[in-house]
């Protein structure tokens, strides 16, 4: 009975106020039902820890110790530290470059894989491998690959070219960040590839056919059909990947632990160092919170675009 009411109201444009109120109530009830499992899980697993982490950043809490509120004390200490400013810079560069590279490579691969080709399924599976490998292990493997003496790259280079000395991929301050970003890109591109592939598949073929009939070039097709249709997926993926890239400490920790001379030190690693190594949860949390406004603004702007509805 209720369902019938819903159906007829959506269809018809004339609805008495009482019916509309019914509809609204109905939607709310259904929405509640639909959302309940998610809300339960998120409340339980995320909300309390989340606010706890925020509030701790205003305390001088040590692991196992008592805490008192110190207002912005942690933040003052951070901004007075030369290293911290370097870390902010590192994190921004690291995130921008890694996300940009992943985006370009992921999109390129998604486009390539949506071309017709025998064995595409095999290539897709191969390109999925980095995602299937736990980040810790990927980092450990790359640490070895980058090793000065027993590393794969140096051994290959020595065999192919006549070099005076080995290249210190992680020890050379000029190369370290690039080497680390390469691992981030290796590990994270499949996420982009897969999401973009799914997005590409969702674009109706008729759009392309219509464009072809009008004599559009491949580039025009890409720019005027593919890109606009993919915008929502682009937004989601870039936004989330930016957040995840800038908060993932595993790769830097295993490869260089922030060295040499803090060339690869980024925010999540600094946060870990304070929070767990020094046991200073308060300032460790503050490190993370400093990036909070940046990322929050990013979310707000991008999500506004995405949530804009047609009606």
């Amino acid at each position: 009975m209720l369902e019938k009411a819903v159906g007829s109201d959506v269809r018809g444009h004339v609805a008495a106020p009482s019916r509309r109120a019914q509809l609204v109530n109905d939607q709310r009830f259904i929405a509640l039902l639909f959302l309940l499992p998610t809300i339960l899980v998120l409340c339980f697993v995320v909300i309390y820890p989340f606010f706890s982490a925020i509030s701790i950043s205003f305390q001088d809490k040590m692991i196992g110790g008592t805490a008192s509120y110190i207002g912005l004390g942690n933040y003052y200490e951070l901004f007075g530290d030369r290293v911290f400013l370097k870390v902010i810079r590192n994190t921004i560069i690291y995130t921008l470059v890694a996300v940009a590279l992943k985006f370009l490579l992921g999109l390129a691969m998604a486009l390539v894989l949506s071309q017709d080709r025998p064995l595409n399924f095999l290539y897709r599976t191969i390109l999925f491998v980095p995602w299937a490998v736990p980040t810790i292990v990927a980092a450990l493997s790359y640490r070895w690959i980058y090793d000065d003496f027993s590393g794969l790259y140096n051994n290959l280079l020595l065999a192919l070219f006549d070099m005076g000395d080995v290249i210190s991929w992680l020890g050379d301050p000029n190369l370290a960040m690039g080497s680390v970003i390469a691992v981030v890109v290796w590990s994270g591109t499949p996420f982009y590839t897969m999401s973009f592939l799914a997005g590409l598949k969702a674009i109706p073929n008729e759009l392309y056919e219509a464009a072809r009939i009008d004599g559009a070039s491949v580039w025009q097709e890409f720019w005027h059909i593919t890109v606009p249709q993919m915008r929502k997926v682009f937004v989601i993926v870039v936004m989330l990947s930016s957040i995840w890239t800038s908060t993932n400490l595993v790769i830097v920790q295993i490869l260089t632990n922030g060295g040499p001379a803090n060339a690869t030190q980024i925010m999540p690693n600094l946060s870990y160092k304070y929070a767990l190594l020094a046991g200073r949860l308060g300032i460790g949390s503050a490190v993370n919170m400093v990036f909070f406004p940046l990322l929050a603004i990013l979310i707000y702007l991008l999500s506004r675009r995405m949530l804009a509805r047609r009606d």
Partner: protein, 438 residues
């Protein structure tokens, strides 16, 4: 849409969410009473499967002696990398294990926070055993006349040496650091390097750096625990290390990119360097996995600097926590495991990884039949902790854990910062830490 409905509904959902969150918070506060087991022991790997099994057997023995069922006593293997987050979470919920092996500075840190159980009676009993205990192990757990941890093992830092390479070149183990440089220059042939020093942002780097600074008269703390990093000895040490790295190039370039303490181990295990200064984890590993290389390895104290030769030791202790609901069981377990005969079984099975805290146990044939360990008893007696000249403190622990010293060293090596400047900066940082924790 009627706005009144909006607000009320929003308030309702908001209230429901906060109520839920509130319940979670309240529920999480009363965790202590819910522990099922009466005895929980977190076992960090003792380095060889045999030693691990020995500890497990001893745990089982005690469990039966204490009349506990299997579900009431938990033996929880914990990998080293797992300990930090697990213990952090456990301390924060006031549910630490009853017994776990802790590094020296953590015993002092947690004592300060009021977590550690007073185990003076246990330690006094151990002192009463034949030969007593090494003084160094006592200092590590002492405070205010009482003992707050049960000394478990001493961890020397000998120089591991490729004796075969020295022999080939007709050289002896260098007596001084200057001779060390000469020796390295003679024997090295890139990619085979002389000294696999750890200079990354890792804990071992702090040790390797200080081990040289001490030989130049440097130190980190005064005997009373106050920061004393700003001294000539450290500046000389930093300068010397810089020479080794940038001028003589007897250290592989890539070491400053090390992310963890394993890479100098691997370098030695793979035959890429002639010298490394490291706890005998390397030696123990070789005895199990590469006896050939082990046979070629010599263990020595550090070469002398202008201020002589100063060796390092770390002390590991069993920590017992105040939050333990059955302190007698915890103490009973520690006491059981530290009985010299049982304890000896574990220690000798670690293949040289750990040195016993009972000097008398050095008479065991395991040690006497191995001449390469000849110097160990001296090192154990005269060695100093990384917090030299002070005993291990919470401040020293944080300095070590956050790589304050290697960070500065890297600035000297990479950015050409003046050693005196770098040393002064480290001193400032240590002072700041000391103000917070001291």
């Amino acid at each position: 849409m009627p706005t009144t409905f909006n607000r009320r509904e929003a308030l309702k959902t908001g209230a429901a969410a906060s109520a839920f969150a509130g319940v979670s918070i309240l529920a999480s506060k009363k965790t202590l009473a819910q522990r099922q087991q009466k005895l929980i022991y977190w076992h960090l790997p003792a380095f060889t499967p045999l030693a691990d099994d020995a500890v497990r057997d001893q745990f089982e023995e005690f469990r039966k002696m204490a009349g506990l069922s299997e579900s009431e006593a938990a033996f929880v293997p914990t990998a080293n990398s797992e300990l930090i987050p697990r213990l952090a979470a456990a301390l924060e919920t006031n549910t630490p294990p009853d017994v776990v092996r802790l590094y020296e500075s953590y015993v002092q840190l947690y004592r300060k926070q009021g977590h550690m159980m007073d185990v003076t009676d246990l330690v006094e009993k151990m002192r009463g055993e034949e030969g007593g205990l090494f003084d160094s192990s006592l200092t590590a757990v002492a405070h205010d006349g009482k003992y707050w941890g049960v000394p478990f093992a001493i961890n020397p830092w000998p120089m591991h040496v490729r004796m075969d390479v020295l022999e080939e070149n007709g050289l002896d183990y260098p007596k001084t650091w200057d001779e060390f440089v000469e020796t390295c220059l003679k024997i090295q042939k890139p990619p085979f390097y002389g000294y696999g020093m750890d200079l990354g942002l890792t804990q071992d780097a702090t040790d390797n750096i200080m081990q040289i600074c001490w030989c130049y008269g440097g130190k980190t703390f005064n005997a009373d625990g106050t920061p004393a990093f700003d001294n000539e000895g450290n500046v000389a040490g930093f300068a010397f290390i810089n020479e080794m790295y940038n001028e003589h190039k007897i250290i592989p370039r890539g070491v400053i990119g090390n992310g963890d303490t394993a890479w100098n181990n691997k370098a030695y295990q793979s035959g890429q360097v002639a010298f490394i200064q490291n706890p005998t984890s390397v030696y123990a590993y070789l005895s199990g996995e590469d006896p050939e290389l082990m046979a070629k390895t010599g263990l020595f104290g550090v070469p002398e600097g202008p201020a002589g030769s100063v060796n390092q030791i770390d002390t590991w202790s069993l920590g017992l926590f105040n939050a333990s609901p059955y302190p007698d069981l915890a103490k009973g377990l520690a006491q059981h495991m530290m009985q010299p005969s049982l304890y000896n079984e574990v220690i000798t099975n670690t293949n040289g990884r750990f040195v016993p805290v009972y000097p008398d146990l050095f008479n065991d044939p395991w040690w006497t039949s191995r001449p390469e360990f000849g110097q160990f008893i001296d090192i154990a007696k005269t060695g100093v902790p990384v917090s030299y000249e002070a005993p291990p403190t919470a401040t020293a622990g944080e300095v070590l854990a956050t790589n304050v010293i290697p960070e500065a060293m890297q600035l000297v090596l990479v950015d050409g910062v003046d050693p005196a400047e770098a040393v002064a900066e480290v001193h400032q940082k240590i002072v700041a830490i000391h103000e917070r924790l001291g």
